[in-house]
């Protein structure tokens, strides 16, 4: 069996990469170019609001280079988790960019668009049928969670990608996708070992992060051989070491020996890593263990209100020594002032310099000589959030705490206006597993000629 090569330009489509690295990768005549575009790490907003956390111009720049290389060499280009979260609006956003590039460059090619957004009625039926289970420590799913979610996606495995490749897609734009799937799908389709292909995908999905120095804005190459796979960065100043690659395997995972994904578990019990050359590491022994019941991961987010924040600083030692009582007093004052209006809001203070970064997890009782204060209000409407934030800010600014000496004002504002209207706020509402009979059914493929 000949070697199979995958070029990964960057950790996230839109994070960029040096053209020199990418061109170096092309010299290896890769079988596919694959890129992951998504992550749940930036939080629930992007899935909930249906917008990307990457910038349109940056995504277009990356795609111009990637698509040109794929079409020129007649090798498939696979894009996973379009638009960052992979719901339909994210997919449309990215599709629009691809169409724009095709028009500008006068490209004509076969494009597959694979959706991953799920219908709420379908999910309500599945919940009723007991086919949805929480991913610990997420809570049990309720019908209310499903109804309130704005966007709900499922992570597709390799199967829809393989089908699109079988139908002759030159570029595949996939909705929410298991991160390694775009790197592994074509290799598995061609008969390479799924354990090696998926583990290689798991490392390649972060671009050159598994190198030293690591970077998510640089390219990496994966090579599957009969008995293992090789990972190497493509920039001159990076190298992969056994620990850098092994360490990446446990990144963002609960258990590095068993990595669950659609349709099975990647088992690394017998995996070993060895230095293959100065720059490259060879990985052997990774196994894909198919599950008895095929499951996909669901992700959903719901809108919980609107946010307004105000940012300020405090340098007065007397105020700092009383900051907790002052916050409580200000909260009570705000509550009392709007008693009759019955506003529904959440008022939170981030106190940087005093447990601001770790909150309840903070074990150290130390306070800085100055405090950064963020007044954070989430309310049912933007107007209410503005009202509560504004009133909290003015109350705290002039609050006459006991022993106060500085009577001109308690807060230092870096900005005018001091209050920022952030807009809608979302929370993760679904993080569960759904049992499916057919790994293709949830992910319809639309083939189009661009």
């Amino acid at each position: 069996m000949k070697e199979y090569r995958v070029l990964s330009p960057t950790a996230i489509l839109g994070y960029g990469f040096p053209e020199s690295s990418f061109n170096e990768g092309l010299k290896y005549q890769p079988d596919v170019i694959a890129v992951d575009a998504g992550s749940s790490d930036p939080g629930p907003y992007y899935l909930g609001a249906g917008v990307s956390f990457t910038d349109r111009n940056a995504v277009k720049r990356d795609l111009e280079i990637i698509i040109a290389a794929g079409l020129e060499r007649n090798i498939p280009v696979l894009i996973g988790t379009a638009g960052g979260s992979g719901a339909n609006s994210h997919l449309e956003w990215n599709l629009d960019i691809i169409k724009e590039i095709a028009k500008e460059q006068n490209y004509h090619f076969k494009l597959a668009v694979i959706t991953a957004e799920l219908d709420k009625d379908f999910l309500l039926d599945q919940l009723q049928a007991g086919r949805i289970t929480p991913l610990h420590p997420a809570p049990e799913l309720t019908a209310e969670d499903i109804k309130k979610s704005t966007n709900i996606v499922a992570q597709m495995g390799i199967e829809p990608l393989i089908k699109a490749l079988d139908e002759g897609a030159q570029v595949i734009l996939a909705g929410r996708c298991y991160d390694p799937a775009v790197f592994a799908a074509d290799a598995i389709r061609k008969g390479y070992d799924p354990g090696l292909a998926v583990h290689m995908g798991k490392i390649l999905e972060c671009g050159a992060i598994a190198a030293e120095p690591g970077s998510g804005s640089d390219s990496a190459l994966g090579i599957i051989q009969p008995d293992g796979f090789i990972i190497q960065p493509l920039a001159d100043n990076r190298r992969c070491s056994v620990t850098s690659v092994a360490a990446h395997t446990l990144y963002e995972k609960t258990n590095p020996y068993e990595l669950p994904g659609p349709g099975g578990i990647l088992s690394l019990q017998n995996t070993s890593f060895e230095q293959n050359s100065d720059k490259a590491v060879k990985v052997t022994g990774s196994k894909f263990v198919p599950a008895i019941n095929y499951t996909v991961k669901l992700e959903g987010a719901k809108k919980i209100g609107y946010r307004t924040v105000s940012i300020a600083g405090c340098r007065d030692a007397i105020m700092i020594s009383k900051i907790d009582e002052i916050i409580n007093a200000v909260k009570l004052r705000v509550k009392d002032n709007f008693q009759k209006q019955g506003y529904n809001y959440n008022l939170h203070f981030h106190i940087y310099g005093k447990n601001g970064v770790m909150g309840d997890l903070e074990p150290t009782e130390a306070t800085g000589h100055e405090l950064g204060i963020v007044i954070d209000v989430v309310a049912d409407t933007q107007e209410t959030a503005n009202t509560i934030c504004s009133f909290t800010r003015s109350t705290m600014l002039h609050y006459g705490y006991p022993d106060r000496i500085a009577t001109a004002g308690n807060l230092a504002f870096p900005y005018s206006p001091s209050d920022f209207k952030v807009g809608p706020v979302y929370e993760f509402s679904i993080y569960h597993l759904l049992e499916v009979d057919d790994p293709l059914k949830l992910f319809p493929i639309q083939m189009m000629e661009v």
Binding site: D41, H136, A247, T249, T254, N255, P256, V357, Y431
Partner: protein, 108 residues
Amino acid sequence: MKTIPITDLAKVIRSKNAGPYELTLDIIFKDQAGFEKTIKSGVINKTLIANLYNISPDKVINIVEFPQALAIKATIVRPRPSGALGETDVYGAQQHAPLLNIKVPICS
């Protein structure tokens, strides 16, 4: 008993979300010797992690040794799902600090 600061033995100490509901803490050692010394000392256990993070031991999901990467990792329940009201660190990338103070006891 002699102790060695973990920062002398470790190359990487980091925290990150493992999905929106978990926070995972990685300690990756510089060499085999440091990794083995730390494992042998037994210093990194559920009680230590619980104490370092002001949480009850049942919130410590697991502690796993991964010799291939010379790593020990602990995963805890996030105080709240990523981005929920009261969030302080959406990516969970700045929750590693208490680990920097670990002292590894060495039997001479």
